[in-house]
């Protein structure tokens, strides 16, 4: 019983990360039908920048905001330089290669400058675990799924209620028609990538106190989160967050009942199978092929 609760709690925490990172993919995909493919490295960048900023003497909250701001700028630059020029044709994949390149550069650049070793980020919420029913978890870890759900609700409200949100949905739905409404499509895309990067960075900063910030922490998370977004159908925030959290929980149960080593193999195989069964994703809409 305690075991199951433990898997569930740590799964929720891990799932919160996937959900947050996947939300970023969803935001980017919606406006451009493309994404920063190595969004996971932004997640990593957020974490290590926060560590560096705290080491420079900033208070945790300021460091967090500063790291998110820097990542937002990096995200916007990636959109402008690496995605937009390589996403001109309907089925272009150039953006995938350029952003993979950027990911390699960011990760190895971080390794060279920050060092390959993990460093802790001190947070008051990661000092004493909460114990209940034989399970233990840091409050810091529980924040993740809560933030994911809060952001999901916030995003939905943002998309439905604000002008900018409506404009983003309009761009996602039909770029040309959006332009004809007077919406600057490129600016909207830039904002979306910045927003996605800030959220990705936040996810990294939130988990850093528990796992230590290290340059290699992002790549795999990014790929998994992209898988999560695709499996969810990448077309609505709710689906992305649900699938993200579920995937985290499933991984923890695989770890618990099969083995830690089997986690990725079983998890990815599951992803492939779901995609085969639902090529548009679980929550995705089927498009009618136009001939």
């Amino acid at each position: 019983m305690g075991e199951i609760l433990q898997y569930l709690l740590s799964g929720l925490s891990l799932g919160g990360i996937y959900a947050l990172v996947a939300l970023g993919f969803y935001i980017m995909w919606a406006v451009s039908n493309a994404a920063n493919f190595t969004h996971g490295d932004i997640y990593m960048l957020g974490a290590i920048l926060a560590v560096v900023f705290v080491a420079m003497g900033m208070p945790l909250v300021v460091a967090t905001l500063a790291a998110m701001a820097v990542c937002a700028i990096v995200g916007a630059l990636i959109e402008r330089i690496l995605v937009r020029p390589f996403n001109k044709e309907p089925n272009a994949i150039g953006w995938m290669l350029t952003t993979i390149a950027a990911g390699i550069v960011i990760e190895s650049g971080a390794t060279v400058t920050y060092g390959p070793l993990g460093r802790p980020l001190d947070s008051p919420l990661a000092h004493t675990p909460i114990r209940a029913g034989g399970a233990g978890i840091y409050p810091q870890e529980l924040i993740l799924p809560l933030v994911a759900i809060a952001l999901m609700i916030g995003l939905e409200l943002f998309y439905k209620r604000t002008i900018l949100g409506r404009a983003m949905r309009a761009v996602a739905f039909n770029r040309v028609a959006a332009g004809l409404m007077g919406i600057d499509v490129n600016k909207i895309a830039l904002i979306a990538y910045a927003l996605a990067a800030a959220i990705g960075a936040l996810a990294g900063i939130l988990i850093a106190p528990v796992i230590q910030a290290v340059p290699t922490m992002g790549a795999l998370i990014g790929l998994k989160a992209f898988g999560v977004a695709i499996v969810a159908g990448i077309s609505n925030a709710r689906g992305v967050v649900i699938v993200g959290i579920c995937y985290g929980v499933i991984e923890k149960f695989i770890e618990g009942y099969i083995s830690t080593g089997a986690r990725n193999a079983v998890g990815f195989t599951l992803m492939i199978l779901v995609l085969l069964a639902f090529p548009q994703g679980i929550f995705g809409r089927k498009e009618i092929a136009k001939v």
């Binding site: 439905k160 002008i163 409506r166 404009a167 949905r169 309009a170 739905f173 039909n174 040309v176 028609a177 959006a178 332009g179 004809l180 409404m181 007077g182 919406i183 600057d184 499509v185």
Partner: protein
């Protein structure tokens, strides 16, 4: 036929896709308060010309000026800001958003600058199309084809354009509905709105417009008063599907 002060002036406009030339140098004018039609068969280059005028595609050559200022090469959101609204071919409403959201997006360029005006104009277009008022909270995608076209027109009007461009009003709509929509355009024009209508159904276009350009194969074949063109045997042959009147 050129007015003293043409609102829209297109000169030598060319549009190419790769090495294919869809529009091969056309001249076209819309005077203040005029209702101008462009007719021609599917693929004649009408929509390509409109895309270049509204900045959806960059023109390969030629100039487009609006109110005496060159707008060719600008992107569409800037052009909309200048006072041209487009009702695009196939409506292209945001069908995943509500009718109300679509209207809000239509007024995007004025939001924060003229909120009171937007409110008044929204009320006006909803009076013009009462069916939209009934369906304000509905998903736009659930509207019928005719209602979607109303929404597209309403959305276009909300940017308070000086020139309204309508691309293929008739597309997929029954005559019954067209006979309701075309008079709305005529009324809007009588109230002072300049309109450029591109229409495959020549019979309708020739009835509502003042002047008409006939396009074929990327060029303007002829132009003149609509009433005169409606009796021109070449137009009758090619676009009205009639044989020469005996």
């Amino acid at each position: 036929m050129s007015g003293a002060n043409p609102l829209l002036q297109v000169a030598g406009l060319r549009v190419t896709y790769g090495r294919i030339e869809a529009v091969r140098g056309i001249d076209l004018e819309v005077a203040q308060g005029e209702f101008v039609g462009v007719i021609g068969s599917n693929g004649a280059g009408k929509s390509s010309a409109l895309r270049a005028i509204t900045g959806v595609v960059p023109p390969a050559a030629g100039t487009v000026s609006f109110e005496g200022q060159a707008i060719s090469g600008m992107r569409s959101h800037t052009i909309v800001g200048r006072g041209i609204a487009m009702v695009p071919e196939g409506r292209q409403i945001f069908s995943d958003q509500t009718v109300e959201d679509n209207l809000v997006l239509g007024s995007y360029v004025r939001i924060g600058q003229d909120d009171a005006g937007v409110k008044a104009d929204t009320d006006r277009v909803l009076t013009l199309f009462p069916r939209l008022r009934e369906r304000l909270a509905q998903q736009a995608g659930s509207l019928s084809g005719g209602e979607q076209q109303m929404l597209a027109i309403a959305r276009g009007l909300l940017s308070r354009p000086k020139l309204l461009i309508v691309d293929e009003l008739s597309l997929g709509l029954a005559p019954r509905i067209l006979e309701m929509l075309f008079p709305v355009l005529v009324d809007l024009n009588r109230e002072g709105l300049s309109i450029l209508l591109v229409e495959q159904m020549a019979s309708y276009a020739l009835q509502v417009t003042h002047r008409t350009y006939v396009m074929e194969n990327g060029r303007i074949l002829m132009h003149g008063k609509s009433a005169e063109l409606a009796n021109d045997s070449r137009v009758l042959d090619a676009y009205l599907g009639r044989h020469r009147p005996a």
